[in-house]
């Protein structure tokens, strides 16, 4: 088992500013229309890392805003949404196999 391990990489720790937290958000939504709406919303706050998994680096207020907006689009009888906050400690132990790399704090854009 000493072959190349390059197909997976230990991520470098993303720089999460002190008052922000790293969240893993996963959903399971049967209705196509609702799923699209919820995914669109999440695209604004974080990065899609798998079909129904997003990684978001958010301030407390942004997180509350996101949840408030998600609540309006979510149907409790059918849908399932999960929010996992990661502390700096557990974040440093995250492993990523395959693409894309672990989400980093968004930065300014120059076009």
């Amino acid at each position: 088992m000493h072959q190349s391990l390059s197909w997976w990489a230990l991520p470098t720790l993303p720089d999460v500013p002190t008052e922000m937290l790293f969240y893993l958000i996963a959903y399971d939504i049967p209705c196509d229309k609702r799923r699209k709406k919820i995914a669109d919303l999440l695209e604004g706050y974080g990065t899609r890392v798998q079909y129904s998994v997003f990684e978001c680096i958010l301030e407390r207020a942004q997180y509350q805003e996101l949840q408030k907006r998600l609540k309006k689009r979510y149907k409790s009888a059918e849908d399932s949404l999960r929010f996992y906050p990661l502390s700096q400690h557990t974040l440093s132990q995250v492993e990523v196999w395959g693409e894309p790399p672990l989400t980093r704090d968004s930065s300014s854009t120059v076009v």
Partner: protein, 330 residues
């Protein structure tokens, strides 16, 4: 502060759900997440759709329209920025309170210029830099005890004069020449870089002043007019040397900016062209996103230092007796 800079010409910015898409012809150049965005700066001729503008206003993201050289034509801010409770307190400040802030600002500016020169003066054969540092020391002391705005402006002018003549000695290589500061229009590449840098920073400060609910037209040192948001100019002073001048020295001395390729000469002046502007903005953003320790000893991006000073000024308006303490390089 997460900003979107559109420095290329002919871009088209559209809204797609929670994202801004920057397009040029059919190509998507960038996707920006609205919830993370704090301001949009458009240099030159690029368009934003009404839907995109509205989404920005909804989120309280100011949009600033500038010339390609960084001159601010105007800005779009949300309607709820109009109610300026704080501005009323600002107008009640006495002449003496304003003078005390003006003194702090000029002394702070000169002392940051002095620190920048001092770093270069440590290298051998820089005797003249050390002399300039001494004369700045003298002017800082004078500025702290000035008893009118006119006097202060005099010390500031004298300080800037000797500072900029020493500034040329910090430039390495022969591609860039700098004798004195020229503006409107800038006469050579170094002046073009400085002018553009000050304009960009000035606009950032203006946006922060607006967001914090202060009146940008009400200042302590600079003279306000209908066309001049003087508070942004006041707060710019302390940041000129550490944020712009040092970046310009770095861009030139590391040969990142090229004297023959990154500038254009027209209208009797020298200006950054498309590639130069983009290089400057990229480096500026990179530097502003680097983390440094703030006053509370916490690591924060440099952006935060701007916001801290705007908040410090706000604090002064609420409690003038505590005074205003400008940013100083560590």
């Amino acid at each position: 502060m997460k900003s979107l800079y559109i420095s290329q010409q002919g871009c088209y910015i559209a809204l797609q759900q929670e994202l801004l898409l920057v397009k040029q012809q059919k190509e998507i150049l960038a996707q920006i997440q609205l919830p993370h965005l704090e301001q949009v700066l458009i240099f030159g001729k690029s368009q934003m759709t009404t839907q995109a503008i509205r989404a920005c206003l909804w989120r309280d993201i100011p949009i600033v329209y500038l010339s390609r050289q960084g001159y601010c034509y105007g800005r779009i801010v949300a309607i709820n920025r109009g109610f300026r409770q704080l501005a009323r307190y600002q107008q009640e400040l006495s002449l003496g309170e304003r003078l005390s802030v003006a003194r702090a600002i000029v002394a702070g500016k000169l002392s940051n210029s002095r620190t920048l020169l001092q770093r270069y003066a440590r290298q051998p054969n820089r005797e003249s830099l050390r002399l300039t540092v001494q004369s700045l020391d003298y002017l800082i002391d004078k500025a702290r005890r000035a008893d009118s705005i006119e006097q202060l402006l005099g010390y500031e002018g004298a300080g800037a004069g000797s500072y900029f003549s020493a500034f040329s000695e910090c430039l390495q290589g022969n591609d860039f020449e700098f004798v004195a500061r020229t503006r409107r229009p800038p006469g050579n590449p170094v002046n073009a870089l400085l002018s553009f840098g000050y304009q960009v920073l000035w606009n950032h400060l203006l946006a922060l002043i607006e967001i914090q609910g202060l009146d940008p037209y009400w200042a302590c040192l600079h003279h306000s007019s209908e066309r001049h948001a003087a508070l942004a100019s006041d707060l710019l002073e302390e940041f000129r040397a550490p944020f712009v001048d040092s970046l310009v020295l770095w861009l030139i001395n590391k040969r990142i900016i090229n004297a023959s390729q990154d500038f254009e000469h027209r209208d009797g002046g020298c200006f950054l062209n498309n590639s130069g502007r983009k290089k400057y903005l990229k480096s500026f953003v990179g530097r502003m996103e680097e983390t440094v320790q703030n006053r509370d000893g916490e690591p924060q991006p440099r952006w935060d230092l701007l916001l801290q000073q705007v908040k410090a000024f706000k604090q002064f308006v609420y409690q003038p007796s505590l005074g205003y303490c400008p940013y100083s390089i560590r």
